[in-house]
């Protein structure tokens, strides 16, 4: 970019370095608009990465506060069936016409710090103890809706797989490209379930078929749909939104 007499205006290499820098600063550039600059008059462009780092540090502090506030005994409020929101709002990182069908030969893979690294079919999951809940799904955007989910308590599932319950995280990978992760304490909460049913019927693809996480003690984006793999790990796994700057703990 600095050579003065280059013939080609933009070469792919130039773009690559620009794009790399843009992605490194992506979080920051989106955090600073005119409103941001108005609050930061006096900061010039060179200090912006410092603001970015400060925001991230505060988010990590918030995560520690949230973990301290969290109690495994405290249950999310439950509601009568009459309170269920109808129609239920579809939500994903893509529009509903991009919902994918369950892949052939689908199985739920379990990896990481578990005793049995086996794969589970839907009927095997259905054979495990089931729990049902009518709880409020609260989106990070602020809206909320009440729905009914039933399935295997994640705690029961983790015990059946011989998971190391002293590991720090449980990570979820989905066949639609989505991913997320939660802390072990929240994974063992009695209302955290691997849902197989929504509204008393087997999950349809747009509601997370064939199995989804349902965790009413966290914001909606943590309740990953269309699962294909669960990993028990102590290495921070991040997630689709978390890597872009959503607060990781995301407790409610």
């Amino acid at each position: 970019m600095t050579a003065p007499h280059r013939r080609v205006a933009v070469k792919p290499d130039d773009l690559a370095s620009e794009l790399a820098r843009a992605s490194r600063r992506g979080f920051l550039r989106r955090t600073l608009s005119l409103g941001g600059l108005a609050m930061l008059s006096g900061c010039d462009l060179s200090t912006h990465s410092g603001v970015d780092d400060a925001l991230r540090a505060v988010l990590r502090f918030d995560d520690r506060v949230q973990a301290a506030l969290f109690s495994r005994q405290r249950l999310a409020a439950t509601y009568p069936a009459a309170d269920i929101t109808r129609p239920f709002r579809f939500n994903a990182y893509y529009p509903d016409w991009q919902v994918r069908a369950v892949p052939d030969n689908w199985a739920l893979h379990v990896t990481g710090r578990v005793g049995r690294k086996q794969s589970w079919t839907v009927s095997e999951l259905m054979a495990l103890p089931q729990e049902s809940q009518i709880t409020r799904h609260i989106c990070i955007e602020g809206w909320s809706q009440i729905g009914q989910w039933s399935g295997v308590p994640l705690r029961v599932f983790l015990q059946r797989t011989g998971a190391d319950l002293g590991a720090r995280y449980v990570a979820f990978r989905c066949y639609d490209g989505y991913s997320t992760s939660i802390d072990m304490a929240s994974a063992l909460h009695p209302q955290t379930i691997l849902a197989l049913d929504f509204d008393t019927r087997p999950l349809e693809p747009q509601w997370g078929a064939p199995v989804r996480l349902r965790i009413p003690t966290k914001l909606g984006f943590k309740s990953a749909k269309n699962l294909e793999a669960i990993e028990v790990t102590s290495r921070f796994p991040g997630g689709y939104w978390e890597n872009q700057g959503y607060d990781w703990f995301a407790g409610v």
Partner: protein
């Protein structure tokens, strides 16, 4: 207009001026990032203009909102402790009697209300005490919608989660209205701005 006799006490002590401006910054961050968060899923038929948006996108705005909230809460707690401990609340924010309030409000609306630095008239007392109460309620409503499960008792004070969310929005509008009135009055009496920035002596209680 005669000059008021000068006293040596500043109209606003240094801690108050400091807490005022930290509060302005924290509240500004909260309000502008809050508007960006609201815009992610507007619950009423309007959105806030994008040029006011702090944080740029929902994730960035939440980072600002959940960061500035600590500054606002620390500043607010310091102010409340200071106000109670030094007698600032008792001396300056105690609500006046309704007849006094009616008299001062009438004078204010006719632009005839005298303003003496360091002394609050009945309208100011009501506005300042009111906005302090509203900000306290606003922080509680905000905590309720941040932690509706862990702080369920707080949500119950406001009703259900969606109700608390609307109360949070309504209280924001109340604070924004206060800011409009407050800044307009400062524009009419610019020396009050100077007294909140620098050490300007308190004016006599006597009518100038």
């Amino acid at each position: 207009m005669r000059r008021s006799p000068r006293s040596t006490r500043p109209a606003h002590p240094v801690p108050l001026r400091l807490m005022h401006w930290i509060g302005v910054y924290a509240m500004g961050c909260m309000m502008f990032s809050g508007w960006t968060i609201y815009n992610a899923s507007p619950s009423l038929p309007f959105v806030f203009p994008h040029w006011t948006a702090l944080g740029g996108w929902l994730g960035g705005a939440l980072a600002w909102h959940l960061g500035a909230m600590w500054l606002l809460m620390l500043d607010g707690l310091a102010y409340i402790v200071y106000g109670l401990a030094t007698g600032h609340f008792r001396r300056h924010l105690r609500l006046s009697s309704p007849p006094d309030f009616a008299r001062d409000l009438g004078a204010a609306l006719r632009f005839r209300l005298a303003h003496r630095l360091g002394h609050y008239n009945a309208v100011q007392r009501t506005l300042y005490a009111g906005v302090v109460a509203v900000v306290v309620l606003q922080v509680l409503a905000g905590l309720a919608i941040w932690k509706p499960v862990q702080l369920q008792w707080l949500v119950d004070l406001f009703g259900q989660y969606p109700v608390a969310r609307h109360i949070h929005l309504a209280l924001m509008l109340a604070i924004a209205s206060f800011v409009v009135v407050h800044v307009s009055l400062v524009a009419i009496h610019p020396r009050t701005l100077k007294s909140m920035l620098a050490s300007v002596p308190m004016e006599s209680e006597e009518q100038p």
